[in-house]
């Protein structure tokens, strides 16, 4: 005889008692996740890769209150080659901040950072120094977004539907994420890189070692796309800012004997394109042993290079040089 409904129900109850807690508990977490989503009290999702950290750090720095009146902007050579702690900013009346970003970002995005900074800090900055690598003028820019990082955990639609993505972001926000390779060795984690940049006025260090050099097959030429970007950059820059522009050095072994002259011409051409007050006269090349990569200087070379940049900046700002700044051993002056 088939058991009556009540009997079957009585038999099913212990089993329900076993399977209900995880299901009900999971449902509670989903409700919690949805509630958080609706209130919108979770900060935006943090990126996890090196690019993400740099982008997010500099975006945050540009939107914070600051007493900086001189901003360095540019690609990764600006980010990695400057050591602002090495310059005597105190007596100069100039407070610098490095908002250097990444190579491959379009030039106008650097101006957007400045505009954001100016909006948050009215009347500032007085000066903007654009520092880029010579190679940038002939590259096609690729827009990066925090979501493009390969180290970001995969997003799944199930997490989205279940309202768990926000919870994950909340947990991940406090978790240090290990960085790969040489960056992992030096900075350890994304939060380590972020902390380092905060402590070094927005600058970072490339912890690499330039393993081999190869001679550039042809002279650098400014591409048409870059010329258009220059116009867009200038248009986005706040009107009150004075713009200075400079080009980063390259490994001497990668450049020809006439490169210093070419570097100087490129800087001048760039200055004209951007309508700058002054194109900075910066070293064109250094010995390859001072480089961490084909574009970034090693930590040891950064301080001396920064002093040279600072000297050139002060000269441009005041119309005279400070005169006592030591050169990097072996640097090739124009």
């Amino acid at each position: 005889m088939r058991p009556r409904f009540t009997q079957r129900f009585a038999q099913a109850r212990p089993l329900a008692r076993v399977f209900a807690p995880p299901l009900l508990g999971f449902l509670l977490v989903v409700v919690l996740g949805k509630a958080i989503e609706w209130t919108g009290h979770i900060p935006a999702r943090r990126g996890f890769g090196i690019e993400d950290v740099i982008l997010q750090h500099q975006r945050a720095a540009s939107s914070e209150a600051s007493n900086a009146n001189l901003l360095f902007v540019g690609d990764s050579t600006c980010l990695m080659n400057l050591d602002l702690s090495a310059v005597p900013a105190a007596g100069s009346g100039i407070q610098p901040l490095n908002l250097g970003m990444l190579s491959m970002l379009p030039l106008p995005s650097f101006a957007e950072l400045v505009a954001e900074f100016a909006q948050r800090n009215p009347g500032r900055p007085a000066y903007v120094v654009l520092l880029i690598s010579p190679g940038m003028v002939e590259q096609e820019p690729v827009a990066l977004s925090p979501a493009s990082s390969s180290s970001a955990p995969p997003r799944t639609s199930f997490l989205e539907i279940a309202g768990l993505r926000r919870l994950r972001d909340l947990i991940q926000g406090s978790l240090p994420v290990a960085l790969p390779g040489r960056y992992g060795r030096f900075y350890g984690f994304d939060l380590g890189l972020d902390q380092f940049m905060r402590q070094h006025q927005g600058s970072a260090i490339d912890p690499g070692e330039l393993s081999r050099t190869s001679k550039r097959p042809h002279p650098i030429e400014i591409k048409e796309a870059f010329r258009e970007e220059c116009a867009a950059f200038r248009a986005k820059l706040p009107q009150h800012c004075r713009l200075l522009v400079g080009l980063a050095p390259v490994p001497r072994e990668e450049s020809g004997g006439d490169f210093p002259l070419h570097h100087k011409q490129l800087t001048s051409e760039l200055g004209t394109l951007l309508g700058t007050e002054q194109a900075l006269q910066l070293p064109a090349s250094y010995p390859a042993l001072l480089f961490a990569s084909s574009t970034h200087l090693k930590a040891q070379a950064r301080a001396a290079y920064t002093r040279q940049v600072w000297k050139a900046v002060l000269k441009a700002v005041r119309g005279s040089g400070s005169g006592t700044v030591p050169d990097v051993p072996g640097s090739e002056q124009k």
Binding site: P21, V29, G188, L191
Partner: protein, 464 residues
């Protein structure tokens, strides 16, 4: 097919749907388990599936012959045949490359060149586990502890039982094999236990172990950090390998329980041990008891004097180290822990006073975690570099981030296990009232879902 992958979840769901109606017939159930196990193992490699079926079938035949032969000499010969076959296959896949490398190094030390080429052999997943399980079965038949299995399907189901096939526990025939001969009831308490084991196992693997791994890799992937950082990374590794392996074992037990089977508990809160002997009674229990019963005791155990006992302990631990893999760090790890066991034994033999709970726990963990450093090191060079302070003594500025991250993933484990230890009950969450249990289980389930990766990440012990 990893337990922590979508593929396995789908596989198990389909398997279980077929299993529920068939479980009442022992023959059909065993056939289904065998089919499921073959599919499960075949998803890694079909040729290696053939190898597993071949070795298990040979042991099936040899055990039958052992039971029929009356002469002790022939019986021993058959046992040696089984051992030679199993250990020969294991040795080839696991140690051939290492042995050739040693040979080549030896010759080069005498300025001679080896003509044999060093080659890399792909290790069949789980070979160390199923081979040991199979050897144990033949040994037990030889010693008359169990009758030989006469049903090939039943025997193959026992050797290839998919919940514990690729990373143990290494089941003993007297414990598991008889379960394939009777109808297994799926009980409510069994399901309750299974749910806890599965949730906790997946949590340990997917949330703790997989998230601790990048921290460990960050440090052990480099060679010139301060020893202090390696010490922290070693602690993280000790937690990672425990979560990874005990997570697997818990999932295996949970799955088996859902099928109505009982497999042994492979871990029993090992990091609460107060001496090395106790540690080995709590860590990878199925392997340590296997070595005790099939190697240490046959070697004479502790019955042939103090000196011989110490030699046996050292020999067994070095072999246990080699079982994990062909490499000097594993040998060193085994020797280090063997030495620890010898000292432990001498201490007891000399009837020296026992240390208090905290000092003995601390010393035990110091020895265990120093062992983990040797185990995790990539090479002897790395061990040497770290011990020679080649990376200096200054800790990197990001050390606190390391500690913070490790703590985040270690604290839930430590909390749950401390309660398990204090209550002397590893199943306390099963007995929680409805609401607290729902909140606890729900939080575990949500974290597992959050950190779940579709393809899963391999378990550390798969490489052994």
């Amino acid at each position: 097919m990893l337990f922590n992958s979508n593929t396995f979840l789908l596989f198990f769901a389909l398997f279980y749907l077929a299993y529920l109606p068939l479980r009442k017939s022992v023959a059909l159930r065993n056939a289904l388990i065998l089919l499921g196990s073959l599919i499960f193992y075949g998803s890694w490699s079909v040729p290696f599936l053939g190898l597993m079926v071949f070795t298990a079938s040979m042991d099936f035949v040899l055990a039958l012959l052992i039971s029929r032969v009356k002469s002790g000499g022939y019986r021993r010969l058959l046992l040696i045949g089984s051992l030679a076959l199993n250990l020969g296959i294991l040795g080839y896949f696991k140690y051939a490359g290492f042995a050739l490398e040693l040979w080549s190094d030896l010759l080069s030390a005498f300025h001679r060149e080896s003509t044999a080429k060093v080659f890399a052999v792909i290790l069949p997943v789980g070979i160390s586990f199923y081979v040991f399980q199979s050897i144990g079965y033949v040994f037990d038949v030889y010693r008359g502890l169990i009758p030989p299995e006469r049903n090939w399907i039943k025997f193959l189901s026992f050797v290839s039982f998919f919940p514990q096939l690729v990373a143990g526990p290494i089941e003993r025939a007297p414990q598991l094999a008889p379960q394939f001969s009777v109808r297994q009831e799926i009980t409510v308490p069994g399901c309750a236990e299974a749910i806890w084991l599965l949730l906790w196992g997946f949590f340990k693997k997917v949330v703790s172990a997989d998230n601790l791994a990048p921290y460990v890799d960050l440090v052990f992937g480099q060679e010139t950090f301060a020893p202090g950082l390696y010490a922290l990374a070693t602690v993280a590794f000790g937690l990672q390998i425990y979560c990874d392996f005990s997570g697997y074992s818990d999932i295996a037990r949970g799955l088996a329980k859902l099928l109505g089977f009982d497999i042994i508990s492979n871990f029993n809160l090992p990091y609460f041990s107060r001496n090395l002997r106790e540690f080995w009674g709590r860590w990878h229990i199925s392997l340590s008891s296997w070595f005790r019963d099939y190697l240490y005791i046959p070697l004479g155990g502790n019955r042939r004097g103090l000196e011989r006992t110490c030699q046996n302990l050292l020999a067994v631990m070095v072999i246990a180290g080699l079982w994990h893999g062909a490499g000097w760090p594993f040998v060193l790890w085994g020797a280090w822990l063997g030495l620890g066991l010898v000292i432990n034994h001498l201490w007891r033999a000399a009837a020296l006073p026992a240390l208090g709970w905290a000092p003995s726990w601390f010393v035990t963990m110091l020895v265990v975690f120093l062992g983990w450093f040797l185990f995790r090191a990539r090479s002897l060079e790395q061990i040497y570099t770290v011990l020679c302070l080649n990376g200096g003594v200054a800790m990197p500025f990001w050390t606190w981030f390391f500690v913070r991250g490790v703590l985040i993933f270690a604290v839930p484990l430590l909390l749950v296990e401390t309660i398990q230890f204090l209550r002397k009950d590893r199943l306390w969450p099963v007995k929680l009232p409805f609401l607290p249990q729902s909140i606890f289980y729900g939080a575990l389930a949500a974290l597992v879902v959050i950190y779940w990766k579709q393809e899963g990440t391999p378990f550390i012990y798969f490489q052994f």
